[in-house]
Assembly symmetry: C2
Homo-oligomer: 568 residues x 2
Amino acid sequence: MKMTIGNFLFMRLQQVGVEHVFGVPGDFNLQLLEQVKEVDGIEFIGTCNELNAAYAADGYARTKGIGALLTTYGVGDLSAVCGIAGSLAEHVPVVFISGVPPLYAMESRLRVHHSLAEGNFDNVMNCLKEFTVVNTRLTPNNAVEEIDCALHRCWKQKKPAYIQVPSNISYLMVDVPETKLKLELPASDPERLESSAKHIANLLNRTQRPALLVDIEVDRSGIAKGLSLLVNKKKIPYAALPTGKALLSEVHPLSLGVYMGEATTPSVKDVIKASDCLIVTEPCFIEGSPMVFPGGLPIRAHIYIRGYSVTVEKEVYEGVNAGDLINRLIDLVEASPATSIQSTSPADVFAPRPGAVLTQIYLWSRMGRFIRSGDIVLADNGTSNIALRDVQLPEDTRYISQLIWGAIGYSLPALLGSMMAAPDRRHILFIGDGSLQMTAQELSTILNLGLRPVIFLLNNRGYTIERFILGMYEVYNDIADWKYSALPQVFAPDVKAFTAIVKTEDDLEKVLAEVENSDCACFIELRLDPEDAPEALKTFGPLTAELDYGPRGPQHVFDKPRVSTKSD
Amino acid sequence: MKMTIGNFLFMRLQQVGVEHVFGVPGDFNLQLLEQVKEVDGIEFIGTCNELNAAYAADGYARTKGIGALLTTYGVGDLSAVCGIAGSLAEHVPVVFISGVPPLYAMESRLRVHHSLAEGNFDNVMNCLKEFTVVNTRLTPNNAVEEIDCALHRCWKQKKPAYIQVPSNISYLMVDVPETKLKLELPASDPERLESSAKHIANLLNRTQRPALLVDIEVDRSGIAKGLSLLVNKKKIPYAALPTGKALLSEVHPLSLGVYMGEATTPSVKDVIKASDCLIVTEPCFIEGSPMVFPGGLPIRAHIYIRGYSVTVEKEVYEGVNAGDLINRLIDLVEASPATSIQSTSPADVFAPRPGAVLTQIYLWSRMGRFIRSGDIVLADNGTSNIALRDVQLPEDTRYISQLIWGAIGYSLPALLGSMMAAPDRRHILFIGDGSLQMTAQELSTILNLGLRPVIFLLNNRGYTIERFILGMYEVYNDIADWKYSALPQVFAPDVKAFTAIVKTEDDLEKVLAEVENSDCACFIELRLDPEDAPEALKTFGPLTAELDYGPRGPQHVFDKPRVSTKSD
């Protein structure tokens, strides 16, 4: 079958589930924008800038399983690279396509715009190589295999792939396979699967105190449902790392809560530390207190589940697909009687006190009841994701946050992406003022596409997370106080949106009632005291200062010099 | 003398002329924000995001001679890298400081946030290595020399330097030199200077048809004044590349206008091609038609002036400082009688026709008269800088545009930077809607700092430059139509600003009169037809499509396939 290279690329993306490609036009990719249009079932979504496109593609991939980004050479690539590095850090499969200068221009080292104009076309590729698991420049000679290889590797490894498409080759015809591309995990090696499953089952059937730590892999390998069954049958109490939040139910009696190294609630930490059969799922970071347990875990895990291999005690079983393994384990393990372990109690319910100033403690308690089963909840870095860590989410809630890479501003474009992937699910975003200002323009795209998220903007006039680390009253932590509630109307004058400003507990109640009945996007500004913060953040701040700046850091009052430069 | 590493860094920056450091706080750089405060004469200016900070530092450096940027590790570095690559492409000396994780964390390969959390701390550095001429990680052992070396190299090469400061060492005391850092060009080798000057003077004194092409180096080497004297004495007609615009007077009788390869006006091109003594200044790109003259010049230059060397005919003289050379040449060359070459005539003056819809042709002609001597004019990529290429600017106008790297959105943060560098000069910005949306939030910083630029927003509801390349009526070139005139009030509710919407020629006249009398920032939205464009852009579009997409590109109507993916 003959097809243009560009059509083949977008057909393949569509076949693996990408229905929306995020990006920004540029002269080296306009031909690709034509070619997206030519393929059924896939569409280009223009964003305001490329970093936002990268975040949107990441959010899309988290909800849809794979995402795609399209930029123009140099300026676009390097604007997006922070987002792509985030996808790599967080194991998100994003296909990053860049329209690059014509092959002849690169081969002749011509001086072109969007380059350094000295003939070097390796520097952008070298940069992207650091943050992608595939990095390839298409030619008519390699395009077909490279595209399929990139999609396979991106999806299997759950990490970003980078494909450069020279602008003058994308309309060239090549021979392409007749068969549809199917991304499937390879079957497990039967012997290894059976041996590892028996090894684990033996351990589990003997154990007195099994425990499970949940992290990203549970989502990326699609084993959440199987793991729930296994946990229920064997009555295995589990805790989630912050990066594994809500992948298994947070309201199940076996759910212990959050595990985050030394900073874990003692009742949870004790269960993990005392386990005689600790199961962990990759990558098992100890985020939040990253430097406390350099080894990553309080005790050596007995069972370490990765996507395609599992370590049981000291034996590594290669070629074992996590899904196959969990399914086999469900058969093999003996059911245990009900555990005595109690789930943590649901958050207290506060009644709003008329006129009482809105506080963080009230807010998050109330939000725990506002979020409902089926919601997709996004939280930006800082106050929002630190507070939500301790808010129990209902069954079947999906939680999206960029906890490892931690780029503020990520969540607003990610909201766009996730909503395009699952437009029928209610999306709720919590974002601070500092984060919002990073990527604010993408609210325009969200509204103009007719999407209807519920956005809570936490306005406390500054980088609150930084205030608690250093410089509580310093100007460098201040943020300009925008008239936020006017943003929807400025960005999308013809789109209906509900906006409100909340200052008190009863304001919040009234506004939440309106949000529940709303048929449009909701943008709620929550006015909060700059010095108010979730309790977890108040602990996190000084600890971080200690780890970052050490004993001679500015958090310890000592004689700060005054350096005069006038005398010279 | 003992001093903390952080204080030393900022003292050195202050000594070489950096009074403002742009950036965003993050936990790995908060200690540095404290240390900026401790040094007299240097201040931190927070921006909304790091890309904007990089553009601001670039704009500052173009106006002040050197600039500085401060980010936090990973997320900040990679958000800023597009701006830094632009500084490299355009020969702008920016010192890029990154607060990075503590030394012990990097040495122990700990899993920390803002990294990929797998112990690799080389990837960000490797990426930045591609786009900086210095890239160093400070330790207490190397800090003093590395800082001085970085500043020297950055300033001398007019290219960005990257300095990582581990968060736990910046308050450590080190021994630092008592002497102030002075950045000075090394003196020329006396013999080489004299020989090269005589060689050139001989050529010039014999030549019948000298000509000069002006580019970036004239600014970066600070030889504009000297070159003006030389040109006047010898009556050398000169043309400027678009990247060398307004470095020498555009209204002088010897000024030929713009030189841009094949696309040059024949009268200008003929003078250059026919020259028997063509002088060029580095880098001498042929931007705008980058692939037309791969060799870079229509004829071999007789004299090629770089910062520290000069090529005269076939002889390369190393160790010759361009400033010394020009000064010596002014002495050596014989004065020529007045040339018969006429300057191009000033732009026609139109009288506004009441009710006549504003057009590009009217706009730019009018703007040529609005801009006055002493202004700093910034133009974003696309319509604005293509149109201004052909607008003669008055004497002593400074022009800032990012023509080589060509990142849209650059100019708004660059305006912030340049205004902080020269607050007493009137700044005028021309920016399109697509560009503005990329970096719009930085208008907040500009207004909240009390700066008073004149901003002309060209709103033609789309990427007009792309429309003329490909997809005139395509949705992918559309941009949401914001209520732009409300932006100042949203971003800076308490700051006075003059806003207006201009639709007709007489609207423009009225508004310009108000701008002239205004004592606050002015934000003027110019409503323009999406299909209207400067003539130069109409030529540029189809030429670019041909160069980018080639004979099989979509600009040639041929049977575009329809790829159905439904049948599988």
